[in-house]
Amino acid sequence: MDQPIRVLIAKPGLDGHDRGAKVVAAALRDAGMEVIYGGLHQTPEVIVEMAVQEDADAVGLSVLSGAHMHLFPRVVELLKEAGAEHVLVTGGGIIAPEDMEELSGLGVGRLFGPGATLKELEEYIREEVGRRRTAARS
């Protein structure tokens, strides 16, 4: 049987709105994943360090401050530098559709906006991490 999925949930930047991040962390935990809650006001550097140390399969970032175009690509870039590009970077917040598209081109996974359901993102993480694990094995 596969190892449980390990997800790091964190808030990069200066934004303090942690309602979404905490609800998602609780939902993924209840869905059987191992959740590490990285907390608030983290730099991309610290987040990547935590992801590597915790051997996370996925990193979920919550950004409601508008700084997503800076923060998401930075985490992807630092993961690559750390040799951890297999780690899925996903997340959510107040992010315009065209920004989501641009971020997707930069290697960021699916991003979830207001109204997204917990089920949707749980399924997405399960599917995407499963795909990446299979790819790594073959």
Binding site: I9, G13, L14, D15, G16, H17, D18, R19, A21, K22, V23, A25, A26, A27, R29, V35, Y37, G38, G39, L40, H41, T43, S65, G66, A67, M69, H70, L71, I94, A96, G113, P114, G115, T117, L118, K119
Partner: protein, 554 residues
């Protein structure tokens, strides 16, 4: 029909019988806070409520019906739209637009670097400058923000907390340079650090030195800026973080009492500062629950201020508050519906007797609001004020069995929570134990689960969903990266042009005063005048006070 007790119970029995026979539609019949709602409230439910001592009259203890005897018959609530984005110049233009459209007071939204005490050119500010508010790095930016707006002619509310004392000092110096005297200035600094640890999470220093700064501003306001509200004790963010209505009410009032106790400990007389305390509540989606919350807030506050803290001046017992409609109730799906949601939330605020009101714009789940969206939001308030007729009489819902019963329940629920907080050792002890944070997190998670199970219905999200939403796309406001570059250049220019000696001397005084038991406001004003940046002044305090890190729980 018989009017005897027996006759009445018979008619109630008959009603119950017909009710049960007809049956109920399939729905939860709960408030948005998951409180069950009875199908019918009768005089029996409010038999213990005294018309004089519990409800009373407006302007009279316990102020359930309003802090003032005449309420909106003398003056309507202040229509105050929260705004700030980009540079001080951008926001200055938005303020002039709002004033021209009939807004009464200004309300400043700062960007995250400013809220966290960083200058625009600090590495941690990257990507955040001007995004969710205006960037203010020094007195220079503050002067630009209010250029052409005489500060003795408007009242200004500033949503700033951790570095509130410093930002307020910049405001006071700006006003003085415009030729205004401090006693002419009216407005509010949010300055509610306790709810930062509890909900909004924009803290810098640990609770103890933070409380000292709050009391410094209370004292300075009482002595020098008598028309200023030094604190706006805020439930808004607690609610947005996911609390229930009664948690919002109780946590907020508990925070308010903690400030009262801190000022009393400093040796201040309660009636010297309490008349300038103000509150800030959320007006959420459940219409009557909110109205009851507002009415209960006034009653609980008056009772405690008089009976527990010994206030003598009636104004010390008034719970005056600002209201903002609930951002978290708005949806990205079918955003035009948000105009309607905001409409009845605003109406609840007005029926609840608010002193000022911000109505959210329809596009706020997508981005900062555009001018068009802000105008509709402001017009919503003007429609309620001038067309609905609700402002013609005071507290029109008083005496409604349902509303009075809900008001009583709100008060009882809040009192239970106060007892729990007391048992824990007070608000700061509760923060240290992450109790508030956990309670709010639990409520938020429960709500989301209920939403997804279809027990809470949100139109456009889990019912009446439209798959093709292209028609509803709104034009949104985008903040370009040139804002950050421009701010960085401006801060660099300021650093090169100001007197280094004056800056050094002012920072040294802040360092000395931080470690002494003196009021820090004069030192901050000197720092502002010397064009010390916000980041420079906060850094001195970071060194003196240390910084705070929360226990992360979910």
């Amino acid at each position: 029909m018989s009017t005897t007790d027996a006759g009445r119970s018979t008619s109630l029995d008959r009603w119950k019988e017909s009710y049960e026979k007809a049956g109920e539609r399939d729905a939860a019949f709960e408030t948005v806070s998951s409180v069950p709602v009875s199908p019918l409230v009768t005089p029996a439910d409010v038999a213990g409520t005294d018309a004089d001592t519990d409800i009373g009259l407006p302007g009279q203890f316990p102020y359930t019906r309003g802090p003032y005897p005449t309420m909106y018959r003398t003056r309507l609530w202040t229509m105050r739209q929260f705004a700030g984005f980009g540079t001080a110049t951008d926001t200055n233009q938005r303020y002039k637009f709002l004033l021209e459209k009939g807004q009464d007071g200004l309300s400043v939204a700062f960007d995250l670097p400013t809220l966290m005490g960083y200058d625009s050119d600090h590495p941690r500010s990257m990507g955040e400058v001007g995004r969710c508010g205006v960037a203010i790095s020094s007195l220079k930016d503050m002067e630009t923000l209010f250029d052409g707006i005489k500060l003795s002619d408007v009242t200004t509310s500033m949503t700033i907390n951790s570095p509130a004392a410093i930002v307020w000092a910049m405001y006071l110096v700006t006003a003085q340079k415009q030729g205004c005297s401090l006693d002419q200035l009216g407005g509010t600094t949010q300055n509610d650090i306790l709810k930062e640890y509890i909900a909004q999470k924009e803290y810098i220093f640990p609770p103890e030195p933070s409380m000292r700064l709050v009391v410094d501003t209370m004292e300075f306001a009482a002595n020098h800026v008598p028309r200023w509200h030094a604190i706006s004790v805020s439930g808004y963010h607690i609610r947005e973080a996911g609390s229930t209505a009664v948690q919002e009410l109780a946590f907020t009032l508990a925070d308010g009492f903690a400030y009262v106790e801190a000022a009393l400990e400093r040796g201040m007389d309660i009636d010297s500062f309490a008349p300038r305390l103000s509150f800030f509540f959320n007006s959420h989606i459940d219409f009557f629950e909110e109205i009851a919350k507002f009415r209960a807030a006034r009653r609980i506050y008056a009772r405690r201020m008089r009976d527990k803290y010994g206030a003598k001046n009636p104004r010390s017992m008034h719970c005056r508050f600002h209201t903002q409609t609930a951002g978290c109730s708005l949806t990205a799906q079918q955003p035009l519906n948000n105009i309607v949601r905001t409409g009845w939330q605003a109406l609840a605020g007005v029926l609840g007797g608010t002193q000022s009101l911000h109505t959210n714009s329809m596009d706020e789940t997508l981005a900062l609001p555009t001018e068009q969206a802000v105008k509709v939001a402001l017009r919503t308030q003007q429609l309620i004020a001038h067309e609905s007729g609700v402002a013609n009489t005071i507290d029109p819902l008083a005496g409604s069995y349902f509303v009075e019963d809900l008001t009583n329940k709100m008060e009882a629920g809040a009192n239970e929570i106060f007892d729990r907080i007391d048992e824990m050792g007070g608000v700061i002890a509760g923060i240290d134990k992450a109790w508030f944070q956990r309670e709010i997190g639990k409520a938020a998670y429960k709500y989301q689960r209920e939403l997804e199970a279809g027990r809470q219905i949100i139109v456009g999200v889990n019912k009446y969903v439209e798959t093709d939403e292209a028609d509803h796309e709104l034009e949104i406001l985008k903040i370009g990266s040139e804002v950050e570059a421009g701010q960085n250049a401006a801060v660099a220019k300021l650093r090169a042009e100001r007197s280094a000696a004056k800056v050094e001397a002012a920072l040294e005084r802040i360092r000395t005063d931080a470690n002494a038991s003196v009021n820090m406001m004069p030192a901050f004003m000197e720092g502002a005048e010397a064009y010390c940046t916000l980041g420079e002044m906060v850094d001195v305090l970071r060194e003196a006070f240390g910084t705070y890190r929360e226990t992360a729980v979910f």
